[in-house]
């Protein structure tokens, strides 16, 4: 189970990182840099979690994930009031210049990662215990990959880059 938790953490971080990189590609400059840095960091951390024997920097990762989720929630809550007075912003469906759906998708993945990291921290830093059997392991990886790919694909499709890509399919 411990190996699967680390694998799911890696997959979740990879998915969130990909979404943030894709959102950064179509974001204004002020949002582009932090989103691109966050996305790149998540991809690197995800690969490290998959490749390593323990979850890397769990406390820092938990802090970053919590802050990122809270930032999206804060913008969503504060933005809801602003949107009531700004029909154009509501119509565009953006969170302070970033599209809402992919940011929420990434936030869901980060929230799941934060919950798993909290479990890891409670159980101790090294979670590499007894290896699961081959088929339970593959089933867990497939289930995790399906969930992450589903959320990530839907989120990527809702980014401005993904929307352009969807239009490109029509011809």
């Amino acid at each position: 189970m411990a190996t699967l938790i680390r694998t799911w953490l890696g997959l979740g971080a990879l998915g969130a990182g990909l979404v943030h990189v894709a959102v950064a590609a179509g974001a204004p400059l002020a949002a582009l840099v932090p989103l691109a840095v966050l996305g790149a960091a998540e991809v690197v951390w995800g690969v490290a979690a998959l490749a390593g024997r323990h979850v890397p920097l769990p406390r820092i990762a938990l802090g970053v994930a919590a802050v990122a989720v809270l930032a999206v929630v804060a913008v969503l809550v504060l933005g809801a009031g602003a949107m009531a007075h700004m029909p154009a912003m509501a119509a565009s469906g953006t969170l302070d210049g970033a599209p809402a759906v992919p940011m929420l998708g990434a936030a869901v993945l980060e929230l799941a990662c934060a919950a798993a990291l909290a479990v890891v921290l409670r159980r101790g830093r090294r979670i590499e215990g007894r290896q699961p059997g081959v088929w339970p392991y593959l089933g867990g990886v497939a289930a995790g990959a399906a969930v992450v790919a589903g959320i990530t694909s839907a989120s990527l499709g809702a980014t401005s880059v993904g929307a352009i890509a969807m239009q490109g399919m029509g011809h």
């Binding site: 894709a22 590609a25 081959v134 593959l138 790919a149 694909s153 499709g157 352009i164 890509a165 399919m169």
Partner: protein, 156 residues
């Protein structure tokens, strides 16, 4: 203490997640590469197609070069999967990394579908499939088949 991430060469097929995944994905990519040619008659060997007739199952866009790439990837995965665990682990990781890069670049490339850079005739469902493949291959390639590592670490 020294450790190695190389799994045991003699790991039998049913005990190696990497060998299983490499073989299954390899067979699927081989089949996709073969049936892809049924949808690419009249399509240029390389470069973007018109996005209407060259769609496998009406979804995944291909051209002959894309089919050849699927065949080569399928062959590499099947050979590695049937050979031994270290080969499967390396191949899964390498192809997973390439697919991840392709999936990321693909979303930027998709904005210019008709560009000459789109020489594999990729569309958005292709990018999604490549990302899903990358996730599974990387997860298994990086994370599985570490029994030899554990044994070496314990013995030293």
């Amino acid at each position: 203490m020294s450790t190695t991430a190389t799994p045991a060469r003699g790991t039998r097929f049913g005990a190696s997640p990497n060998r299983i995944v490499a073989t299954v994905f390899g067979v699927v990519y081989l089949l996709v590469g073969l049936i892809g040619f049924f949808w690419t008659s009249g399509v240029p060997f390389a470069g973007p197609g018109d996005g209407s007739s060259n769609l496998i199952l009406g979804v995944f866009e291909v051209n002959p070069l894309h089919n050849v790439a699927h065949l080569l990837i399928g062959i590499a995965l099947v050979i590695a999967g049937t050979a031994n665990a270290p080969a499967a682990k390396s191949t899964n990781t390498t192809i997973g990394a390439v697919y991840l890069l392709l999936g990321i670049l693909g979303f930027f490339l998709a904005a210019n579908h008709g560009s000459a850079l789109n020489f594999l005739s990729l569309n958005t469902p292709d990018h999604f499939l490549h990302l899903a493949s990358a996730v599974v291959l990387l997860a298994v390639g990086l994370g599985a088949d570490r029994r030899a590592e554990t044994r070496v670490a314990a013995a030293v």
